[in-house]
Amino acid sequence: MTETDKEKLIRQYAAGEITWHSLRERGFEDYVQVLGALGELGLRPPIAAMQGPNVEARQRGRAVIREALRANK
């Protein structure tokens, strides 16, 4: 994988166009390498938009954390 390919993939990843899974399939060995490549380009790991097949399960998850934080204060 050339540096240009790597940079392109990382930009796509940061933009939420491809997944960490697909980066791994395309030669990234571990997530530290991904974080390093993001840092090199001044980018940060993406945050998933609240969409897709698991929205309900994710909203439940956020509610669990919210409630746990409140109870644990």
Partner: protein, 199 residues
Amino acid sequence: MSQPFTLIVTDTSPLFTLALAGSLDTLLRPGLPVRIPDAVYIEATRVHGAPGAEQIVEWINAHLDLVQIVPTDIGIDQQRRLEEGRGIRGLGEQAAIEALERFLRSDTTAEALLLFEDSDIERRQAVFDRRVSLISTGDFLRELETAGLIQSTDYILDQAAAQGRNVERQRLAGEDSTTRERLREQLTRRGEPPIEPSR
């Protein structure tokens, strides 16, 4: 909270992100027990001294009352594969599925919260079990931010990337010096003095 929730870490990426940002303790802020499947743990820490690995090991040891490594059959398979020099890609997530199934079977009232990396959570297959909820690293940090427990989600993610960049630079420099060292050894073995750089 009426139900006993447990946070199950499904992949190495949330651990590395939080470890490099120096924020692993945020995982404990909700006060939920944390379970890390053995294959995820091994994948994150198997290279001794690797960036993030040491922090993860120390953090787990400092919080054994709340953080548990879960043994799985997949973890045993992973061990065998490592010994045979075979790939272990994807085994962490398989071990997380096994750990989840064991967990749900062990207590019919228990509920699990699966922690995923953000890009993967958005596109994976739908979860229909009402006892299973999902959370991504980003969603998790946002809840902490809303509760005023961290400065900002973006700050932590930026810190992880910045630290990752430093680590990668050191790694590349290390690889470079290893190459130089090997070349020097080759030349010395032939009885030739190392070539001095031209001035």
